[in-house]
Symmetry: C2
Subunit: 320 residues, 2 copies
């Protein structure tokens, strides 16, 4: 009998899930659209049906240990999604309670997607054996999961780890949160694009970036690969903002490593090199040279479900 | 038989200690100069002698549960003082090991002074019953102790919680650490004095502050009590720098409360009001109104030894 968990990642557009064993093998997987269900109940019915179909398809003797769910604004303490701006279901969604109806007597853990990713990294990825580290997700937003002494930091209300909304530059760029100068306004997709546009405006030419009104981080990455000066400078500026705030982050929890994953992180060395440079430049002497900046050790396509599934092992205190 | 701990606070000038019971009563206390002993060994001999004299003087049946030591640059994991700039003993001092010679078979815990203060606050002070909070010390420097889920955050190397060296203003004031714009350069004694001097220079008059070359934070506090505009503005500016960084701090560990203690904190409402104002102004909506800004609940004269003594209860997992 093989012990498995189900990892569910609820994204704004699609929901993906997998049946995962203790070594991180995915024994089955599926997906359903997140959108299209105005009621959370009908969405969860569709999801439960897809999961049960997938479970039946597994060709092994398995024991389901629990279900882990990574969701935007997922709250660990309450097992709920709270006021997620990018989901159609508004207010407080008592997710754990609703999922229990479909999977009674099962351990169900809800957390936010970045926290799930951090635990995935610890159990299946490059943070194996580490007790103190930070994981940063760079994509549409900037998320983070902070692990201290082998445990996720949830804080008083379950919303700890909002590094995307710590401030790089007082009175800097307007952030989607309404405040100014947040890291997210510089290091998430929209921020990287804005940096490129500002640099193009300063330079007076767009180089390989072409139509700057339509560019995406992927376009900037591809231009950087061809040596485009503005594209390269865009990642240097992004790395500078990140480096500044990661130097601050090191002062808080003194991590052994900081992992970066997500769409923007796929810029690889174009982003990691300047970020490392600015971490070295800005970090307090006491910590200098002690903290590794690393890419995630998880396959990008599986990181979200591995992380969600790993929440169960952490909850049950099982060393997967 | 009453269980007690000994709390030792090693300061740059004096070392104070107390024999403390589980409710925070100080059954005996003493002090010796920290300076004047070029060798750590002779200093510890003098300290052990003073402690033993004090123990003999206690008029009760007591059981010594351990010794807690708060020291500048004290490292919990190594039980050592590491490269403390303000102590005469240089390099790495294996304090725990050296103290054990005088008190064999005794639990000995070494930590930095701000961490000790945080645990003191949790066991004897205003953080009783709280599991997630931050304590900030404002004095010669800015120290901090971060408590997550009822435990001190030590981080990978034992030096977590250096909030004084997170950056308020990139390229701002030069800090004693050699970097620019650190919170310590604005909110520690020297920073508060510098703010007053800058405001006097801008205004072109010194008001009640008198000789600004010689002013201390205490002078500024007394001038504020008399309604001096520049003194009041000095604390507002200090509160602004603090408020900015405490808003960042909230994003990391989402504490229930932030405590401020130390010399500068005795400015009371002149400091707390603007700090609260700027926390409210700068904090991410998600956390707004959730975090209490509070003065320490410990008597200032006893906080250091209570904190050091409390390290033992935390170490032994005893709920004092």
């Amino acid at each position: 009998m093989q012990q498995v968990t189900i990892g569910i990642d609820i994204g704004g557009t699609n929901t993906v899930f997998g049946i995962i064993d203790q070594t991180g093998n995915i024994l089955g997987r599926g997906r359903i659209p997140t959108t299209g269900h105005l009621q959370i109940e009908t969405y969860l019915e569709a999801l439960a049906m897809a999961i049960n179909t997938c479970l039946e398809g597994v060709n092994k003797d398995i024991e389901l240990m629990g279900i882990g769910i990574g969701a935007p604004n997922g709250n660990y303490y309450e097992g709920a999604i709270k006021f997620a701006p990018n989901l159609v279901w508004k207010g407080i969604i008592p997710l754990k309670q609703l999922v229990e109806k479909h999977f009674p007597n099962t351990t169900i853990v809800v957390d936010n997607d970045a926290n799930a990713a951090a635990i995935g990294e610890m159990i299946y990825g490059a943070a194996k054996g580490m007790k103190d580290f930070i994981l940063i997700t760079l994509g549409t937003g900037v998320g983070s999961g902070i692990v201290v002494d082998g445990k996720l930091v949830h804080g008083h209300d379950g919303f700890a780890g909002e590094l995307g909304h710590t401030v790089v530059t007082p009175e800097g760029r307007l952030c989607t949160c309404g405040r100014k100068g947040c890291l997210e306004a510089y290091a998430a997709a929209r921020g990287v694009v804005q940096t490129a546009r500002e640099l193009v405006a300063q330079a007076g030419f767009a180089g390989l970036l072409g139509d700057i009104e339509k560019i995406t981080p992927k376009d900037i990455f591809e231009a950087a690969q061809q040596g485009d000066v503005i594209a390269l400078q865009t990642f240097r500026e992004t790395g500078k903002a990140l480096g500044r705030k990661l130097s601050d982050a090191i002062c808080y929890t003194s991590p052994q490593a900081i992992f970066i994953l997500g769409g923007i992180a796929s810029a690889g060395t174009y982003l990691f090199e300047p970020t490392q440079y600015y971490i070295d430049k800005f970090t307090l002497n006491l910590f200098n040279g002690k903290v590794q900046l690393l890419p995630s050790g998880l396959d990008a396509g599986n990181a979200a479900i591995l992380g969600a599934g790993a929440l169960v092992w952490q909850e049950l205190n099982i060393n997967a």
